[in-house]
Subunit: 364 residues, 2 copies
């Protein structure tokens, strides 16, 4: 499976689009705001006020969150400049995601974004040039020493590929991660190791690439879905475990071949806070300035009482492209109705939450 071709959030602005279903990510951005502000202010003042402030948002996706991040950064720098009685810099912002992302939708909203920015900030401001740089962030995207600030929100839990040992058949012909579609409580140790190895390689490549692309003293703020399922006492489960159950029900009803489900593993690994820290330290390109974790409810911002349906729609916006690529001809509406029921049942017993890790780094 070529990740660059199949992994992307649902485009457009229809009811299953990521644009309409990214409230968790929005909540996460809100919680990470103080870290982001602190990081930008420090960077901006310590870098001798660059005339052109170059920023990248890696894994930007499409939808309201995409440009609201840009807006946040511009606001912080602009406020800092006002306090210090300096002219705001020119901004050059690069939105990055895989080539399958719906950049057209982002671009269509750019003229009104820019117009309102200019109107609010006045003539002393900007300009703010917003470009797109498609490609995988597990590799180089920019020339050497180009960027001042890098941001990535809710993207780094996606892997560049599924671990090979999960794709190639084991000698006995049995699937290694049977009953699961990604790393889960019931996954054997070998599966954890295989997923962790890919995570470690990906994340080191990410850090090394950014180190090359950033100016000395450049800052980076990352938020990533973290995991505590490796805590033995944990009774909770992840949405992906519930998704696995919904798919397995469809196997039992003959709607999906068992071997097809056995062969499906998500390119997804949510690391523990310790794993994130350790890789940053071992790789050595960046120093940790702040490191925080917090929990976000799966159904953050649900107001209509349809908690299961809301969470299912959020996940659909994220996972439909990958599911559709593997399970061709599968009735997606059917799958996501079953999934919504599983979530509703779960939320009657447990508080569905997702751990988020937010980290602020500086180029060492």
């Amino acid at each position: 499976m070529e990740m660059e071709q199949v992994l992307h959030m649902n485009g457009g602005d229809g009811k299953t689009s990521y644009a309409k279903n990214s409230t968790i990510q929005k909540q996460g951005m809100h919680k990470a705001k103080p870290i982001l502000e602190d990081s930008i202010k420090t960077l901006y003042c310590n870098n001798n006020f660059p005339k052109c402030f170059k920023i990248a948002d890696l894994g930007c996706s499409s939808g309201p969150n995409t440009l609201s991040f840009v807006r946040e950064i511009v606001d912080v720098v602009d406020d800092t400049c006002r306090c210090l009685n300096r002219k705001a810099p020119v901004f050059q912002v690069f939105l990055n995601d895989l080539p399958g992302n719906d950049f057209n939708a982002v671009f269509r909203s750019l003229p009104s974004f820019t117009a309102s920015l200019m109107e609010e900030k006045g003539s002393n401001f900007g300009p703010c040039f917003v470009a797109a740089m498609p490609g995988s962030f597990y590799g180089r995207l920019f020339p050497n020493s180009f960027l001042h600030f890098v941001h990535s929100s809710y993207s780094l839990h996606w892997r560049s590929r599924v671990p090979e040992s999960l794709v190639s058949k084991s000698p006995a012909g049995a699937a290694l991660n049977k009953g699961n579609i990604c790393m889960a409580k019931t996954s054997p140790h070998d599966v954890h190791k295989a997923y962790f190895d890919v995570f470690e390689r990906d994340f080191k490549l990410f850090l090394r690439s950014r180190f090359q692309e950033m100016v000395p003293g450049g800052h980076m703020v990352l938020t990533v879905v973290g995991s505590d399922i490796r805590t033995p006492s944990s009774k909770t489960c992840t949405v992906w475990e519930l998704m696995g159950m919904a798919l397995y029900d469809m196997v039992l009803e003959g709607l999906i071949e068992e071997a097809k489900l056995d062969g499906f593993n998500l390119p997804y690994y949510a690391p523990t806070p310790e794993e994130v820290k350790r890789v940053i330290q071992t790789e050595g390109s960046f120093k940790v300035r702040r490191f925080e974790t917090y929990k976000i409810d799966w159904d953050a911002n649900s107001e209509n009482g349809m908690r299961g349906e809301n969470v299912a729609r959020n996940i659909r916006a994220v996972a439909e492209s990958i599911l559709g690529n593997h399970f061709t001809n599968l009735n997606m509406d059917d799958l996501f109705e079953r999934f919504a029921k599983k979530i509703t049942e779960y939320l009657e017993k447990e508080r569905g939450q997702c751990t988020t890790i937010a980290v602020s780094l500086i180029k060492a």
Copy 2:
């Protein structure tokens, strides 16, 4: 009419897409190739071999021509480096067009483009980062002194807007450019002046913006559809005059209201070679290195004998977004069938040709 919203080539790769119908533009690029090569070689050697070579293609559209231009530039620089036994630079390429352009289609073809580039050039090459910068080139798109080389092919005949005097009603209520949809042989002097004024303002703004964005000694190669309809002896007409006739036939048949057609003028003005030269000289930011004109057959590359249909499809890919925005509910298939007939009849008598101006400039 907000040009930024409505002017764009047809997206995707269907039978009326620009991707499938841009053979004239391809022919034009082919003819301009020697100028492009000469310009890049000179620039590259005189600029002390920049480590990161920054390029913009303004009005890139989407389709096979978009990346083949990037490929051409990369090839020329790479060849030059091989001859001089130097390492090729890192390339940072910015594709620009209005926000309504189908950038998604361009991005989808990027992974295979990059892969084949790396394979052919070998490990000593690159990398070549291809980004998109949406926005109007009649204004700023990049920070100061950022670009080494700028290219724009078959875009600068599109205006930022329709002249106001053609949109606001004249005192007598009669349309100023009646019977035409852009500047034509039969247009009155006032129409010519109105279109020329917008062209002059646009082109000066274009040159001034690029001057600010380019490094000292930076080069620019522009190709633009030129005009010789102001030559009194000229018996030929432009495709747009034939399009006007097809639309007028539909007025006579009651399919379009006459006032609706009277109110339609294209944001299009093909300047004469003298007009281009004069504006460059008056504006003063750039020195002309080479200035050439040549003619290209409307049906360049037509191989199936369906000359009228082929030309009509080329124009449809370019003009459908604007026509559809003004003449809502008009049957486009019907219009373009009539248009194809007009072209076929014309090509039985005349050799349909389009003048192209190619100019190579250096930042003064």
